[in-house]
């Protein structure tokens, strides 16, 4: 909050200083305009542009009009931007007059002066525009309707979170294609962990663990759709599952799930499928004995 107030006051200062600068530019505009309107010949002679006194007078009218606009309007922003446009016009008029001009020095001096004023005009216009946007935002915020009670969920958002997961049948054509699913997504590791604790593991029945683990190894090595796991990964995963099962009171997971679990390590030596089966079966049996 403190920062907010600090930023706000900075913006206020900026807005006030921009308005002050705009007032100054307004008076400057009227002064320059009067000079251009009343003494066009002297000015055109000094710039070596004798044939342009009519144009200088017209520019004078423009300067006076923008000056009055800045001083008289409640919001000087568009008038200051008009000054920026006028500056560009002045520079575009002066630049072609530089070559082959006996008063070249004066023209260059005038261009530098215009460039300086242009910079001031730009700064002022930008600050005023920012302040205007800020004021507009503040106005909106003051009149902001309160939609904080419009959840659209009469029983509350948290009550509704995920309710459609129970009864919405995801259309097949909008499911992530099988080949693009992360390997662990909903199947291998998570499903395996779930089964390990649910007591449906084959080891819990006390029979057929070797067969199950054989299936595991077979599934992992033969499936062409799933990313291939190294045998070492399979063994390690099976061992992890056994350890988990032991911690859970001996309900070892089906190794079908375990076999598909990815592992970050791929540096272990490759084992044959037969070795995998044997090793995994031994692990399960050992866990059961314990």
């Amino acid at each position: 909050m403190h920062q907010h107030h600090s930023g706000f006051s900075q913006q206020m200062i900026s807005r006030d200083s921009a308005r002050g600068l705009a007032q100054g530019l307004g008076w400057f505009s009227i002064g320059l305009g009067l000079a251009e309107l009343l003494a066009p010949r002297q000015l055109s002679r000094a710039l070596g542009m004798e044939d342009r006194s009519g144009l200088i007078q017209a520019y004078g009218v423009r300067e006076i009009a923008t000056g009055i606009g800045i001083l008289a309007s409640r919001d000087p922003t568009p008038w200051v931007w008009a000054r920026v446009g006028g500056d560009a016009l002045d520079l575009a008029t002066l630049a072609p007059a530089v070559p082959d001009n006996p008063q070249k020095g004066n023209v260059l001096l005038a261009m530098m002066a215009v460039a300086g004023v242009t910079a001031l005009d730009l700064i002022c216009a930008q600050q005023l525009s920012t302040a205007r946007q800020q004021a507009h935002r503040e106005e909106r915020l003051r009149n902001l309707p309160d939609y904080s009670n419009r959840s659209g969920m009469p029983r509350g958002v948290e009550q509704m979170r995920g309710v459609a997961r129970h009864d919405f049948e995801m259309p097949r054509d909008m499911q992530t294609p099988e080949a693009l699913r992360p390997w662990t997504d909903g199947r291998p590791a998570q499903a395996g962990a779930g089964k390990a604790t649910s007591g449906t593991g084959v080891a819990a029945s006390g029979a057929g663990t070797a067969t199950t683990n054989h299936e595991a190894a077979h599934t992992a090595s033969s499936s062409s759709l799933k990313p291939q796991l190294s045998s070492a990964q399979v063994v390690r995963t099976a061992a992890d599952q056994v350890a988990a099962a032991k911690g859970d009171g001996g309900t070892a997971a089906t190794s079908h799930d375990a076999a598909s679990t990815p592992s970050s390590s791929s540096l272990k030596p490759q084992l044959s499928s037969a070795q995998v089966v044997r090793t995994a079966a031994e692990q399960v049996a050992a866990a059961k004995d314990r």
Partner: protein, 390 residues
Amino acid sequence: MRALCWHGKNDIRCDTVPDPKIEDPRDAIIKVTSCAICGSDLHLFDGFMPGMQSGDIMGHEFMGEVMEVGSGAKDSLKVGDRVVVPFTITCGECEQCRRGNFSVCERSNRNKDIADKLFGHTTAGLFGYTHLTGGYPGGQAEYVRVPFADKTHVKVPRGMTDEQALFLGDIFPTGWQGVVQCDIQPTDTVAIWGCGPVGQFAIRSAVLLGAKQIIAIDNVPERLVMAEAGGAITINFDKESTVERLNELTQGKGPEKCIDCVGMEAHATATLDSMYDRAKQALMLESDRAHVLREMMYVCRPAGTISVPGVYGGLIDKVPFGMVMNKGLTIRAGQTHVKRWTDDLLRRIEEGQIDPSFVITHTVGLEQGPEMYKTFREKQDGCIKVVLKP
């Protein structure tokens, strides 16, 4: 009858036009009781969609009472039925309809030849949405002719209000499909660009479908407040960097699912690419502003999904497709297959899981429609959704 008619850019009028008549045995005439101004109507109002003709009747989100039924629709509808009309007109018989891809019905666009040339193959006919999609008079009117009415309707149960049912015709199923086609998982962070009406429904849909974290992005304060009320964390892109904040909220990994509920008129102004888009659009070298798409491609987590329910009409420029390819992103887009979702969503409304009327901020008569187009576009007076009562 009175109807809101398009007469050019920024020029919509409430005109008196001839009443519609049955033209085909499968037609029905509906007396409109409620209709709405959709965000995609603004693309027509702003003159960004080609194919409109002066005098075209606007509106594709409407409902009402059946007044007259053609002989071929009598088995499905009877006079007096209350119906919501999906904005995509569907024959129900072509190969695409049989597959449930109703928004690309092969038979309902009577200007199929033009659409074939423009898009390669036709899409479904739409109400009040250019002659590229059939030039069918829309529903911001007292009466409307519904072609293929035996299939293009959703019956409204007794006791359900217009305000609860109306949005089944477009924005509710559109937000829903935008989320469904992301295949939301319980571990997902979903980022939703745009908190207009479709964005608001996408947020609620993501809640119902159980996303872990929902992040909504906009710069209109009252829309962000409504998004928060619906369960989203919000990012005001005028005040903070969308990309930095999204990465912060996802431990630097980016959201898995990104949904574009903005479409062709992205309003970001402080970025180089959006300035470039505006300049190209002004010179007619580009039809759509693609800032949101670019941002999604940049920030989406590798192997993530980008869903685009927001409307795009033609050409976009400087699309970083290298990001899409190298990050392995999936892109899903499309007009809404409204009828695929309406039974399920109607049940959710009846069960009180959601009350779609939350999004209505303005209800006025049809004659105030032209004024409300401006209010809606300028986001004045807290306007998020306008309902018109003809």
